[in-house]
């Protein structure tokens, strides 16, 4: 809640481009030189843009700590870069602020349930660089059970609440246009306002990523009074992101996340990572494991990270499977199925390229 008009946010961007010199074209050439990595090391803190109000993804708990899949992604990256998962400064961003905050350098990375799309990725669009997708989601619609709505068609002529500045807003328009359903989109700037208007009865339905709907529903006064319609309106690969123009930093983030996938595949967990490292150190024949855990080879150096960035990240948050179950799966109030988010070896989409 800011009393000043939000467009003031763009002024720093304009000023930055007006006033900044043009001296930042250094750092090219061989070796790992990343402005961002040295900035992060310099301040000894990773600034991570999150939602902050979405249970299961990033949620500021009553004890002042952030929890969730996205928050843990930040922790893993902080552990990999700085060796300490606690060295994260979270910045709550709403949907419309997030890209400006990333572009202006206010945050180092986004782990803010952000859908990867062409126009966000491309230099001619939002111009940000995406890492590996950490949650494959789809857009859904939630309605009160009492409304009796069973499909999208039942929402004809009704108002639907949606958060502005999201892909959701666009998918809604596309799907409704395809099916020829008239509706009134009521757009709000923050998730809080969107769900407040829905609970206030202004809209018959609210639309968002299905995981988000489930997460928000878990914090409603009466979660049982709301259901998700069966239709899945879109693909929503939720993906952490960093700025364009710093490939070394993007790589460091990308491979830290891949390491969490790979750890699940190799059966390395938060609990056994120390013994696995000891095992790798003792046995020269476990070449794959030794390289992965940084016992031999120079993967860390190639990325501009410490040699032990993989065990540090795993020790901080566990492997991807642990991350999922703890935050959104069976170990959480959300109780989401792994579904597409299983490992590729189990028929899912979670796949790490080889650590070679």
């Amino acid at each position: 809640m800011q009393p000043s008009p939000r467009w003031l946010l763009a002024l720093p961007l304009l000023l930055a481009f007006t006033l900044s010199g043009c001296a930042d074209d250094s750092g090219s050439g061989g070796g790992v030189q990343s402005m961002k990595l040295s900035t992060i090391r310099g301040r000894d803190k990773l600034v991570c843009g999150v939602d902050g109000k979405l249970p299961g993804f990033s949620f500021l708990g009553p004890d002042g700590t952030y929890s969730g899949l996205d928050a843990d992604t930040c922790r893993a990256v902080a552990a990999a870069v700085l060796g300490d998962p606690a060295k994260v400064e979270y910045r709550d961003l709403n949907s419309s602020e997030r890209f400006a905050a990333l572009a202006s350098g206010e945050v180092d990375m986004l782990a803010r349930n952000t859908t990867m799309t062409l126009s966000r990725d491309s230099a001619g669009g939002n111009g940000i660089t995406f890492g590996p997708t950490t949650f494959y989601d789809g857009q859904g619609v939630m309605v009160p059970v009492a409304s009796g709505a069973k499909t999208l068609k039942d929402l004809d002529g009704k108002p639907i609440c949606v958060e502005s500045g999201t892909t959701t807003e666009l998918n809604l328009a596309d799907r409704m246009r395809e099916q020829g359903i008239a509706y009134t989109p009521l757009k709000f700037q923050t998730g809080d306002q969107t769900y407040a208007a829905y609970l206030g009865g202004r809209c018959v339905a609210v639309t968002s990523d299905r995981s988000q709907l489930a997460a928000k529903r878990s914090s409603f006064p009466n979660p049982d009074e709301h259901i998700l319609l069966p239709e899945v309106m879109s693909k929503e690969p939720l993906t952490p992101a960093s700025v364009n123009g710093d490939p070394a930093w993007a790589d460091a983030m990308r491979w830290t996340v891949f390491a969490l996938f790979q750890a699940e595949e190799l059966g390395i967990t938060k609990a056994n990572v120390a013994t696995k490292v000891a095992e790798a150190k003792a046995n020269k024949n476990l070449a794959d494991l030794r390289r992965f855990l940084g016992v031999e080879g120079d993967f860390g150096k190639q990325l501009g990270l410490p040699a032990d960035f993989v065990p540090k990240a795993i020790a901080a948050v566990g492997n991807y499977g642990e991350l999922f179950e703890r935050n959104v799966g069976s170990g959480s109030p959300l109780k989401l199925e792994r579904a597409e988010n299983r490992l590729w070896t189990q028929g899912g989409l979670i796949y790490s390229p080889p650590f070679r």
């Binding site: 939000r6 419309s96 966000r120 500045g165 709000f188």
Partner: protein
């Protein structure tokens, strides 16, 4: 560079002491420096934008918007281009600004006059209104009006109904002429209210918030204006046998206008700017549409330049009109 004074005196004044030349030189130097700074900044902007691949481009304005808006005075659907969507937002903004200006003026004038009323209750009521409203942030008030007051309204048959007026959770419905100048009242069709004149609850909440908020400031401006009229004018009017309201209307207010109008100008401008808080209560104004546009196109600078330009033009127009009004109410001195 030397100047030739066209004075009658034969002795030449050196140019650095010539009071006809020096101001010009100083002005020219300051102007030149200013131009250089601007040129440097613009050049830097263009260079940096080019390096970042963000050089201003306006082609996206013609591409299909592919998003819907909740309400529009001009025909719009998702297949129309961005410029059309932005126009819809602008029209919606102007609608709430214009109605808001009228409403705030009426409410503010009434409240400002009431603070001089002989009726103690009315006088205190006006004071309480001003002090409460102007000391609470507008955004908070808007959220209050929308989420606490208007969203608590009943819907359907339970809606508040007066002859020709229905107020429900979905909006405000008024009777008006429709189809061949026949009078049509609001009616319930399949559980949804229909009326010739309908305002969404978002518009109504925003308008209520803007009018009550700006009204409080206008009331203070009006009060100040009336207080500036010498007491003798009141007494003169009373001695002519004029009633309180007649002296107010014909003697005091016309004189107070001279003081009121310049003060109103800045209140009107703040109302126009404050209308951009619409996004908090889900009303599709220019800012709300711009935000969606920005999110889709990623053209942050272009969208914000359009926004800045639009609000600047709206405010300058309001200012120009108010300056014209100001000329009208000034004393003509002969």
């Amino acid at each position: 560079m030397s100047a030739t004074p066209v004075s009658a005196t034969p002795e030449r004044i050196p140019w650095w002491r010539d009071r006809r030349v020096m101001p010009w030189i100083v002005q020219a130097v300051v102007g030149l420096v200013l131009l250089l700074v601007i040129a440097l900044l613009v050049g830097n902007l263009v260079r940096n934008l080019t390096a970042a691949g963000l050089l201003l481009s306006w082609r996206w304005l013609g591409q299909p918007a592919s998003f819907d808006v909740a309400e529009s005075l001009i025909p719009f659907d998702a297949s129309m281009p961005y410029w059309r969507a932005l126009l819809v937002g602008l029209v919606n903004s102007l609608r709430v600004i214009l109605v808001g200006l009228v409403g705030a003026t009426l409410l503010g004038t009434a409240m400002g006059m009431a603070s001089f009323s002989g009726n103690g209750l009315l006088r205190r009521l006006a004071r309480v209104y001003v002090e409460v409203i102007r000391n609470i942030p507008l955004l908070l008030q808007l959220l209050f009006w929308y989420f606490v007051v208007f969203l608590a309204l009943p819907n359907g048959t339970a809606a508040f109904q007066l002859p020709g007026i229905v107020l429900s959770k979905s909006g405000l419905y008024l009777a008006w002429f429709a189809q061949g100048f026949s009078w049509h009242g609001p009616e319930l069709v399949n559980g949804v209210w229909q009326a010739p004149l309908r305002f969404s609850v978002e518009f109504t909440a925003l308008l209520t918030g803007l009018i009550t908020y700006t009204g409080a400031f206008v009331a203070e401006v009006v009060r100040g204006g009336i207080a500036s009229v010498p007491k003798g004018q009141w007494e003169a009017a009373t001695s002519l046998g004029l009633h309180w309201s007649a002296s107010m209307r014909s003697v005091v207010l016309p004189q107070a206008l001279r003081v009121i109008v310049p003060g109103l100008n800045s209140q009107y401008i703040s109302l126009a700017k404050n209308s951009s808080l619409a996004v908090a209560v889900g009303y599709v104004d220019l800012y709300s549409v711009s935000e969606t546009t920005l999110n889709q196109t990623g053209r942050a600078l272009e969208v914000f330049l359009l926004l800045l330009g639009s609000y600047l033009i709206i405010d300058l127009l309001i200012s120009a009109v108010m300056n014209g009004v100001n000329q009208l109410v000034q004393i003509r001195e002969r």
